[in-house]
């Protein structure tokens, strides 16, 4: 019991942001509820992003009604690889990455071979809301597959690593990279056993890495030294985050960014309620960081200026 009080005191001193505090003092204050629709709908997010030159995977098409499902083959004509995902999905639910498609069989990224009927079924389920928030009717978004850059090849087991930038009032505040492991089954969520790597917001270099809340230095499956990680195009990553604020107006957001071989950093999605595990990966308290921005960061800067401010201070 006494230990608990000590821990609470230490956590407060370190400025660790708790869930209640996040919801009450940050999200309720800076994220207007009406803005959620902008980021909960991936099609909308993509259109907004295109308008202000945030690069995202190119949209191939959308399927809105059950009777359109049979047009799938026509929609993806000319593509060997594509991704189907629910516009209102979350947590990777219902995302089907097709690596190869030969007109008969679909080969998924996770190694499954699917018939047309099975893919049809998947899209159908997507439309009926199986993967969506609150189970409501949804649309299926079909987009180009990201050509993942090889720089992180050794750092992730099967899955694709992504960079999560927490943006506060338009300033990139804290960043982490999420790496898949054998245990996390290609997914990069930390609570499913992914590795979280805290990145220095100024350099894109590793600060600290954790697996199941415990510090690690080596990837459990690939053996890569996590301390060697350095994200290229760092400024561009931060800029996507800063622009996401201009685009949505959300005072507190998380931008998920992946690195494409040819097109550079690309935004996959924006989260209006990003989680708090990033603090553990960075070994830093988020509240401290938010207060720093509140107090010392200037208002009225453009996205580029904000990124420069973060990089230079």
């Amino acid at each position: 019991m006494l230990n608990w009080f000590k821990t609470v005191k230490a956590l407060k001193e370190k400025g660790v942001l708790g869930m209640n505090d996040r919801n009450y003092s940050v999200i309720a204050k800076y994220n207007d509820r009406s803005l959620y629709t902008l980021v909960d709908d991936k099609v909308k997010t993509k259109q907004l992003a295109n308008n202000i030159n945030i690069s995202t995977p190119k949209m191939i098409g959308i399927i809105e009604h059950q009777y359109e499902v049979k047009n799938l083959v026509k929609i993806v004509e000319g593509y060997k690889t594509f991704v189907i995902k629910p516009a209102h999905g979350s947590g990777g639910k219902g995302v089907l990455v097709i690596k190869d498609f030969d007109g008969e069989k679909f080969y998924s990224a996770s190694g499954e071979v699917l018939t047309f009927k099975q893919v049809y079924q998947h899209v159908s389920n997507t439309l009926s809301g199986l993967f969506s928030l609150g189970g409501r009717y949804d649309v299926a978004l079909i987009e180009e597959t990201v050509n993942f850059s090889d720089v992180f090849k050794n750092f992730s087991y099967h899955g694709i690593p992504d960079v999560r930038v927490i943006v506060y009032k338009g300033f990139p505040a804290m960043v982490m990279m999420r790496l898949a492991t054998k245990e996390s089954d290609g997914k990069a969520n930390l609570h499913q056993g992914g590795v979280g790597v805290g990145l220095d917001v100024k350099t894109g270099e590793t600060l600290k890495a954790v697996l199941h809340n415990k510090p690690v230095t080596i990837h459990p499956d690939t053996g890569a030294n996590l301390m060697d990680l350095k994200v290229p195009f760092w400024r561009e990553h931060l800029l996507i985050g800063a622009l996401a604020y201009d685009m949505t107006g959300l005072g507190y957001l998380g931008a998920d960014i992946v690195l494409d071989k040819n097109r550079g950093p690309m935004m996959l999605e924006i989260n209006a309620r990003p989680g708090l595990a990033i603090q553990i990966a960075n070994g830093l308290g988020l509240k401290t960081r938010l207060e720093e921005i509140d107090k010392h960061y200037p208002l009225g800067l453009s996205a580029e200026e904000r990124v420069d401010f973060v990089l230079n201070n």
Partner: protein, 510 residues
């Protein structure tokens, strides 16, 4: 600017909470005091029914019977009074605390009944009449000497003057010199009368009081005799044997002063037989009567306790929910337990109340287990979402039906309690669990189910507690307090208990 805003929300909610607490405290005090509500559901009010059966032989053409009855001001509240006397004209004289029966042309043995139902109230026994100042009685020389002697001896006794006198008379009874005062063989009435004389010598007004002891099944022809004396500006009752002051518990005074308990004119061989019966009622049943006798009836009329029983029972069931909700809010926002759905645990807890704890849990586990197995089989069929959930719902209905029949045949409440679980909630838990299972593995699923069950169990223990249910119903203003507590919890920004462990690695150096 913004910070000030938060501050004021919290502040105003705190004020409102305090206000609601003051309101609740006042209202509870009022209910306890004027309606007799209690915090314990087990508390009962004893209701005493005293039957006085009067019988006599009518001799004259005109007969009149006068029975002294308890005053309205006793510490008992009179619930009802009933008089049965065939062919008699009955007059109830509240002023003089008596009932008068007038008969004409009656012959032979007459029987009449006076029945009184009472319950004890918190108010004290007040007898307001003030006696006239007593002059010192004019006595013969011999008597005078006796009196002085008695009072001399009395000075050696303890207590107030009346107590001293009682003790002396009791002690000196065997003393031959006292035989003139009071024969060794005497009735309680004679004793009391003598005492009144002795007290009169000191100019203390005193009178006889006749009281019946309220004791289950008691039957008596002779009410107990006590002395009531006017000391220090109030009437006090004294026990003739022990000299103790005050009416013992569960005694009710039927008659006081010079009038007799029973006065029969135009008849002979009269007697009155008292018999006492006890019954019980909950304080809530008595509330209306208490409210009436305390001039608090108008408030009572607009309370939920005057509604028909059916509505009351529904409300009683509803009144427990704010507390259950509070428990869920605390478990989620302060402890940090993650459950399936916000109020699913609460609905489960409600079902457990109906099924019984162990039976409910076992039966529910069986249903979830079978449901998950079935759902896993169906997952292979790749059904669309709505039909699939519908399938689960129908499966659960069939399962409930099956379990109920089997339970009935085996005479096992354990199995048949299935019928009380909410179908949709059960189906939804199964669906949700099976999706979690596919996506996040068995461990997370089991963890989530256990968390939900745990929350349900905690909630169950709160809402199934007899006292809690009673208190939340009898003192329903507490729900207003709970409402503000819940709102105030909405501004709680401290760490959740589970977060302390979760974030501990951030500050623990290892």
């Amino acid at each position: 600017m913004k910070l000030a805003q938060i501050f004021s929300v919290r502040k105003s909610l705190t004020y409102l909470l305090i206000l609601s607490m003051i309101y609740a405290a006042h209202s509870i005090y009022f209910k306890v005091k004027y309606w007799g509500f209690s915090f314990s559901p087990k508390e009962v009010t004893d209701i005493w029914t005293v039957d006085a059966k009067i019988s006599f032989d009518a001799v004259d053409d005109k007969t009149r019977v006068i029975l002294s009855v308890p005053s309205q001001n006793s510490r008992f509240n009179i619930l009802s009074e009933e008089v049965v006397a065939n062919g008699y004209r009955i007059t109830q004289d509240r002023e003089k605390n008596r009932v008068v029966f007038d008969g004409k042309g009656k012959k032979g043995r007459q029987n009449m009944y006076y029945r009184l139902s009472l319950y004890k109230d918190a108010k004290p026994n007040v007898v307001r009449d003030v006696p006239q100042k007593l002059e010192r009685p004019i006595l013969e020389e011999e008597e005078k000497m006796q009196m002085t002697k008695i009072w001399e001896l009395a000075q050696l006794q303890e207590g107030d003057k009346v107590q001293k006198a009682i003790k002396v008379v009791n002690q000196e009874m065997a003393n031959p010199s006292m035989s003139l005062v009071l024969p060794l063989k005497h009735t309680a009435k004679e004793f009391a009368e003598k005492l009144i004389q002795i007290l009169a010598y000191k100019r203390i007004p005193a009178r006889i009081a006749r009281a019946v002891k309220l004791e289950e099944g008691k039957k008596t022809e002779k009410p107990g005799i006590m002395i009531e004396a006017y000391v220090d500006d109030s009437w006090k009752l004294y026990d003739l044997n022990t000299a103790k002051i005050g009416l013992p518990n569960n005694w009710i005074v039927f008659q006081r002063g010079g009038v007799s308990l029973l006065d029969v004119r135009g008849g002979e061989n009269s007697k009155v037989m008292f018999s006492v019966l006890k019954s019980v009622a909950t304080p809530m049943k008595m509330a209306e009567h208490r409210a009436k006798s305390n001039q608090a009836l108008s408030q009572y009329k607009y309370s939920i306790y005057t509604l028909p029983v059916l509505e009351q029972n529904t409300l009683k069931w509803l009144m427990i929910f704010p507390l259950a909700i509070l428990v869920v809010v605390i478990l989620r926002n302060v402890i940090g337990v993650t459950t399936m759905g916000t109020f699913t645990p609460m609905l489960l807890a409600m079902s457990l109340v109906k099924t019984g704890f162990v039976e409910g849990l076992i039966c529910f586990s069986i249903m979830i287990f079978l449901g998950l197995v079935m759902r896993a089989v169906v997952a292979k069929l790749n059904l669309l979402l709505v039909p699939r959930i519908s399938f689960v719902v129908i499966f659960v209905i069939l399962l409930i039906q099956l379990l109920t029949i089997v339970g009935y045949r085996l005479d096992s409440g354990l199995v048949s309690s299935a019928i009380f679980f909410p179908i949709i909630i059960t189906a939804w838990i199964i669906e949700r669990a099976s999706i979690t299972w596919e996506e996040e593995g068995a461990r997370n699923t089991i963890k989530e189910i256990l968390n939900t069950l745990l929350t349900a169990v905690v909630t169950y223990f709160v809402i199934s507690n007899e006292t809690v249910r009673h208190v939340m119903f009898a003192f329903n203003e507490l729900n207003v307090v709970i409402m503000f507590i819940v709102m105030l919890l909405g501004t709680y920004t401290g760490y959740r208990l589970t977060e302390i462990t979760r974030f501990a690695p951030l500050v623990n150096k290892d």
